[in-house]
Amino acid sequence: MELESLYQEVILDHYKHPANKKLSPDYTAQVHHVNTSCGDEITLNLSLKDGLISQVSWEGVGCSISQASTSIMTDLMIGKNTESALSVLGEFTSLMQSKGLAKGDELVLEDAVALAGVSKFPARIKCALLGWMAFKDAISQSVTQQEK
């Protein structure tokens, strides 16, 4: 089995002990996303304060990849401003589309580089992106909200 290349230790750790997996009672935006091909679901709460991401919390069911990826993402994003958060998100999306060719910049993506192997498995890219896309959606909703 070559499973190790996909399921790195750090992924299995996040899967077993996901970070921020408990919805905060208050939030700037709440979103619900579904992976229609497998039925995985996520609810994500985001709080913005003074342009900074003060809180990201979530709940959901999904495979180890989607759970670990979401967990890693929340750790990464909390404390960033929206601009750099979106830039990290862009970098992660590129990594996912790299078809196994890129390794990812550990200085930017930290634990998320462990997900580089997913890019070799097209059907799993959606799993890895589920939480990130929910986050992106929540950011854009928060921003519109605050502009009002």
């Binding site: 070559e2 499973l3 299995l12 497998c38 069911v61 999904g62 799993c127």
Partner: protein, 418 residues
């Protein structure tokens, strides 16, 4: 007990088994419930059509057009014979999904006074174990007409709960749309009991035979049904072809679905009248090569013999059930033994998400399906996010199941759940 099929010999007809999977592993294809592999006889038949008889049917008087016509109508006869139907009652569609939509839209197009016209107060019956393809078209028809959608529930064991059949199929019932075999649970439903109840109240029965027609002998007359749908691609046939069978007396009264060329009698700028069935339901230049390919596929199955296919299926299913039921941390979904149960076995593994199970099995060259299997309401009923499904067909053998069982153990070890 040994299989009546010489799998090793038969497998040589399927070139895909020569392909190497990840890490050089051999292909263990356990996803025939989603789509089957194709023997060269099917691919050759399609190619022969294209290289020798390719022309638009129903539309030309030249030699190629005549040959295309003969090939296409000959294919129709072969399909009709396969299900015990008349050729004029056998419609080529692109898929079972289109077949079921054809029936639902045709009913929706019928005018007040027609026996197919639905209105508020009428009832459409489905079941909790339907594939989306035999559920959503009826949801939509119900919404459009005001009819009520009701359903059979399932028992703990994963069988159709027919205890309230007289309440479910009552005087208001106009349509009963039911699957012959669940694509998740493997359950084979007692169709005759349902057709009897439907007949009493004058309702038509639509049978989703996607998982049954490729696997055991079907006779539309014996079943007593009114309509039947199945897909070619699950029966060794090409993609892009399905079958919609309907009783002749129904088809002749029904409104068309797709409109356009070849399905008309006369046309003016504002009006059109329809050709008799099956042409009324086959607008446009049809999927001729795929029809020919499907006929070759059904001939291939008939040559083996559907009884032998069923016996082989039963052998694999019993073996798989006995092994999987015994595995620690593994739960088989649906009936736990082979009685009235087709070659589809869904299961869950404690602590591993189906997607991860599928990935782990893929690492050993095993192709299974994971997720909700287009039966999301059933998943909710079972309180599951999804399952892993192994489904078997004529090119599988007991060794495939042994590899599956061993790989499940490896996956449990890898994910640390054992």
């Amino acid at each position: 007990m040994t299989s009546p099929i010489d799998v090793a010999a038969l497998k040589r007809d399927f070139a895909i088994f020569d392909k190497k999977m990840r890490g050089g592993k051999q292909l263990v294809y356990l996803d025939s419930g989603a789509t089957s592999q194709k023997p060269r006889q099917v691919l050759d038949a399609e190619r022969f059509f294209y290289e020798n008889n390719n022309a638009a049917v129903h539309r030309g008087a030249h030699l190629l057009a005549e040959e295309a016509n003969e090939a296409y109508e000959g294919a129709r006869q072969i399909v009709a014979d396969f299900i015990g139907a008349g050729a004029d009652e056998t419609i080529f569609t692109k898929s079972a999904t289109e077949s079921l939509n054809l029936i639902a839209y045709s009913f929706g197009n019928s005018k007040p006074g027609s026996k197919f016209h639905l209105k508020a107060g009428d009832r459409i019956v489905v079941s909790e174990m339907e594939h989306h393809a035999n559920l959503i078209p009826w949801q939509q028809l119900a919404k459009r007409t005001g009819a009520e959608l009701v359903w059979f529930e399932i028992t703990e064991e994963g069988r159709l709960d027919l205890s309230k059949i007289a309440d479910v199929i009552n005087k208001k019932t106009k349509i009963v749309a039911i699957t012959h075999q669940s694509n998740v649970l493997g359950t084979i439903n007692p169709i005759q009991e349902i057709t009897q109840a439907a007949k009493k109240v004058g309702a038509v029965v639509v049978l989703d035979a996607c998982q049954s027609a490729p696997h055991f002998q079907i006779d539309v007359k014996e079943l007593g049904i009114d309509f039947l749908a199945f897909s070619g691609h699950k029966a060794l046939g090409p993609t892009g072809v399905g079958i919609c069978w309907g009783k002749g007396e129904h088809l002749s009264e029904m409104e068309p679905f797709l409109t356009g060329g070849s399905m008309i009698e006369t046309v003016t700028m504002t009006d059109a009248t329809w050709a008799p069935a099956p042409r009324k339901f086959e607008a446009g230049v049809p999927n001729m090569a795929q029809a020919v390919g499907l006929a070759a596929a059904l001939n291939y199955l008939s040559k083996i013999g559907m009884d032998r296919v069923a016996e082989h299926d039963a052998l694999l299913t019993e073996y798989a059930l006995s092994k999987l039921v015994a595995l620690p941390g593994v739960s088989v979904i649906g009936p736990q033994n082979g009685l009235d149960r087709g070659a589809v076995v869904s299961f869950t593994i404690d602590g591993i998400h189906p997607h991860d199970v599928g990935q782990a099995l893929d690492g050993n060259g095993i192709a299974v399906r994971t997720g909700h299997h287009c039966a999301w309401p059933l998943m909710r009923k079972l309180n599951l996010v999804g399952t892993t499904r192994a489904s078997f067909y004529i090119y599988n053998d007991l060794q495939d199941i042994d590899i599956l069982v061993q790989s499940i153990g490896e996956a449990q070890k890898f994910f640390g759940v054992l």
